[in-house]
């Protein structure tokens, strides 16, 4: 069985420079009735397929390099999740679908084909998620894996960044079926808390979602949107933002405008990354390893 120390050791071998983040996790036994064995999964975020511009002149290759980075991991993950903004926005519905098709074709190159997708506002806000659903299925759903309950929430199909009453009721019902102490991981695109409202880094009804999650003692949230690593607590719930796979953005509220950080031709992958998460369901513990994007 892969333990956390083995996993980190393997990740370090496979990824070169590795930054390891110890994430919040409560040392309580999983009691969901499902055998809890250690595993790991990979989070990829904000690939913005179709983007063109100075913040990443290499954009046509970055997603392919991310695929190669994951495929080169010495221990392949159980599954992979993309936490939104798979494609860059466009007003043209045909172009949107073309980009989604190209994105889907590229990620078919991943060795692990158990892939979960959630939309970002660039994918879904201009058509209420219609194109995303055609290519990738539902925009919110849940699944179980080795004793961990995973919930994908959609806070982008409404352009006003609302999860909405119907989805919140669905979330309540989904959680009610579970053992209250079982580990739960939530995937979203936008932060569920007010990280930087002046940059639109928030979910309008995120506080209601957090209220629904709060009675559950072992909840961890992984999200994207802000193109950088970030860690935040709302009560006992940890929220972890992932780096992007297109260009990094400045630290929340650190400057007047949320303009992308300048591209460095000497280090074209600088600020980009993937996240490998080791799960220990028996302790409701999760350890994230931030890995740089490799050159293909």
């Amino acid at each position: 069985m892969l333990n956390r120390r083995d996993f980190i050791k393997l990740a370090a071998v496979g990824g070169g420079a590795v930054f390891v983040s110890g994430l919040q996790g409560c040392a309580t036994a999983a009691s969901s009735g499902v055998a809890a064995t250690d595993f790991h999964f990979v989070q990829l975020s904000d690939t913005h397929w179709g983007f063109e511009g100075p913040p990443n002149p290499d954009a046509a290759n970055t997603l392919k390099k991310a695929v190669a980075t994951v495929n080169a991991l010495p221990m392949q993950p159980d599954f992979i999740v993309f936490t939104g903004d798979l494609t860059h926005t466009t007003d043209d519905a045909a172009v949107r679908r073309k980009r989604m098709g190209e994105f889907r074709d590229i990620v078919k190159g991943l060795k692990v084909q158990d892939i979960h997708f959630i939309p970002g506002e660039h994918d879904a806000s201009l058509d209420a998620g219609a194109a995303f659903k055609e290519f990738f299925g539902d925009t919110h759903y849940s699944f179980d894996h080795k004793g961990v309950h995973f919930i994908a929430l959609d806070n982008v199909s409404d352009p006003g960044a609302q999860v909405g009453a119907a989805q919140i009721e669905w979330l309540k019902a989904d959680l009610a079926k579970r053992d209250k102490t079982a580990p739960v991981i939530v995937f979203t695109h936008r932060p569920l808390f007010d990280l930087a409202p002046k940059w639109d880094w928030a979910t309008r009804d995120g506080a209601q979602v957090v209220d629904v999650l709060m009675p559950y003692p072992n909840v961890t949230v992984f999200y994207g949107h802000i193109h950088q690593e970030n860690h935040h607590m709302t009560g006992h719930i940890a929220h972890h933002a992932a780096k992007s796979l297109i260009f990094p953005l400045p630290a929340p509220g650190s400057q007047e405008k949320r303009t992308p950080l300048a591209w460095d031709p000497a280090a074209p992958n600088k600020g980009l990354g993937i996240r490998d998460i080791a799960a220990e369901p028996a302790r409701s513990a999760f350890t994230a390893t931030e890995l740089p994007v490799r050159n293909a």
């Binding site: 806000s125 982008v156 002046k198 940059w199």
Partner: protein, 130 residues
């Protein structure tokens, strides 16, 4: 009695939208005038992908303002995080919202309804002076 009649008169047109908004503000303005408060200043704010016009607005602390929000293309948002204020534009129409700033300073506003490729740059600022 007169104010009561005025409120009753606008109750039905309110459901009709734009014209009703103007009547409602007129009613509120009359109420405030009766209470000795200054009449609201009207500011026309136009939203179009991906620009607010005007994008820099100067207000007086304590002076009521009525924003006439006109969108030329999309249901943009109008959010002023530091004043805990937000409203929605309605595509291709005009709506009105009221704000009375109670603190001085420079406050940024932004569109918080995702509207396309320039959404992240659609913002402006309110400066509230003594």
């Amino acid at each position: 009695m007169r104010k009561g009649l005025l409120r009753a008169a606008v109750a039905v047109p309110l459901a009709l939208g734009l014209a009703a908004g103007g009547l409602r503000i007129a009613a509120q303005a009359q109420d405030k005038a009766d209470a000795g408060e200054p009449p609201p200043r009207v500011i026309k704010l136009v939203a179009k992908r991906f620009v607010f016009t005007p994008s820099d607005i100067v207000l007086k602390k304590g002076q009521p303002v009525v924003f006439e929000l006109t969108s030329l293309d999309f249901g943009h948002g109008f959010k002023i995080p530091d004043l805990d204020f937000r409203a929605d534009f309605v595509a291709e129409t005009t709506t009105t919202v009221r704000l009375t700033p109670q603190k001085t300073g420079k406050f940024e506003f932004l569109c918080d309804n995702f509207c396309g490729s320039g959404h992240e740059e659609m913002d402006g600022s309110l400066t509230v002076e003594e």
